[in-house]
């Protein structure tokens, strides 16, 4: 009996359906991905077990970095047509008797977190690139002499009453600075804070109970 010869050609796997599927998935993820805007400072938040997610919009975020510099960010609300940021800046400009051009309002509306005295805000809006912008982030004044942060919070809450407050502090920031910020917020009738943390899981069960004495 003659031997059965195995086929000589190497087996090939048809990749086409796989490519199809991957393309679909890729398109889906590209479209759903939302990139985080550049943040005002490098902040390494502390860890907690909390699983609650931060709200997507109607959020004021106060950043506190390692050295105690404070930055502020507020979003435009549920969509960009509400233009909350522009309205807030208008109120601030009125308060500090400054004038901004319509282009400056528009640019400010599209930018993100900032932390500088209001007089330097114009420079920040017109900064050519990210590096120059970063140099201007010297921290927002929030002491009783010049409480600009307080006014930003106040006007943000007037313009968008639904805005919640999130605090993103560096793990190494001094608690006293955080406390001052919390006091300032409480003066503005904000009593609920969202502390932004990194999630770590911690499993504690009945077996962890120390034996009864």
């Amino acid at each position: 009996m003659p031997k059965i010869k195995p086929p000589v050609s190497t087996p090939r796997i048809d990749m086409t359906p796989m490519v199809d599927l991957f393309s679909l998935l890729l398109v889906f993820f590209v479209l759903t991905a939302s990139f985080r805007p550049q943040e005002a400072a490098m902040i390494d938040s502390p860890n907690s077990i909390s699983e609650k997610q931060a709200p997507d919009f109607n959020l004021m975020t106060i950043f506190i970095d390692k050295e105690g510099k404070v930055f502020f960010n507020v979003d435009n609300g549920i969509d960009s047509t509400t233009k909350y940021r522009e309205q807030i800046l208008k109120k601030m400009a009125e308060r500090y008797e400054m004038t901004f051009t319509p282009e400056e309002y528009d640019l400010f509306g599209r930018l993100s977190g900032f932390g500088m005295p209001l007089k330097d805000l114009k420079k920040w809006i017109h900064a050519e690139n990210a590096e120059k912008r970063e140099l201007l982030q010297v921290g927002m004044p929030y002491d009783s002499v010049d409480n600009q942060l307080g006014y930003w919070v106040l006007y943000s809450r007037i313009v968008n009453p639904r805005a919640e407050v999130a605090i993103k502090g560096d793990a190494d920031a001094n608690y006293m600075v955080v406390k001052e910020i919390m006091d300032l917020l409480q003066d503005n009738k904000v009593n609920k804070f969202n502390l932004i943390t990194n999630m770590v899981s911690e499993k504690v069960g009945l077996e962890d109970l120390p034996p009864e004495k």
Partner: protein, 227 residues
């Protein structure tokens, strides 16, 4: 198959030209698949981790309310946690007062056997109750909706009469990390009632004395500053 079928025209009759045997043109898709795999992984991971998590903390209203409206809490159940920075935590029971012996300040830390052990021990009843309930739900013994589950736990915490009432006080040297850690411990140990309050002058003195190795035995005399 990713190949282009080249049709044989059949050839003219009588054509003597010898044709090379045509192989179907094939495109190797493997590198494309590799690249797509990478991109998909990248997008999946960035979308899943982009969302920051928050820890919600509600502070009591700061309006200058009269002393009367503040809730009275029994000194017996009060547990004071003092954050002294450098991962050092002190705790003591009760309330220091001039006519009682000074409560003993005990040093602890944020490790597993540190403050957590003490909190679990003090909060044994409530912790057991909540953990049993949670485990039952995890194993499918009871099936409840998320909102019912949360409400039941909330009610358990409200009904609790044995667990400690924790007052968290941070010294000037405390870091933001410490306060987040301790509030996190409250969540881990299912402490029903806790509050972040200002540190008192006596407590600052207690920390300094304990650090120096000479714990206070008597209520210290506080110099009243003349304004």
């Amino acid at each position: 198959m990713a190949q282009i079928q080249t049709q044989d025209q059949g050839g003219k009759k009588g054509s003597k030209k010898k044709r090379a045997k045509k192989h179907p043109t094939e495109i190797d898709m493997t590198p494309m698949v590799d690249l797509m795999c990478l991109l998909i992984t990248f997008f999946m991971l960035t979308t899943a981790f982009a969302k920051p998590k928050v820890m919600v903390i509600t502070m009591p209203e700061k309006d200058n309310q009269e002393e009367k409206s503040q809730p009275k809490i029994s000194a017996e159940r009060t547990l004071n946690i003092l954050l002294a920075g450098n991962d050092e935590v002190f705790y003591y029971k009760g309330q220091p007062s001039p006519d009682k012996p000074m409560p003993r300040l005990i040093i602890s830390d944020f490790s597993k056997d540190g403050i957590r052990k003490m909190l679990l021990n003090r909060n044994r009843d409530l912790f057991t109750k909540i953990t049993e309930y949670r485990d039952k739900r995890l194993t499918g013994e009871i099936i409840v909706a998320d909102s019912t589950f949360d409400n039941t736990i909330k009610q358990m915490k409200l009904d609790d009469k044995l667990g400690p009432i924790v007052l968290i006080k941070a010294d000037t040297a405390a870091k933001y990390r410490d306060i987040v850690n301790i509030i996190d411990e409250m969540a881990i140990c299912n402490i029903a009632s806790y509050a972040v309050v200002d540190i008192g002058q006596v407590e600052v003195m207690m920390i300094h004395a304990a650090k120096a190795g000479t714990p206070l035995t008597e209520y210290p005399k506080i110099k009243v500053q003349v304004k």
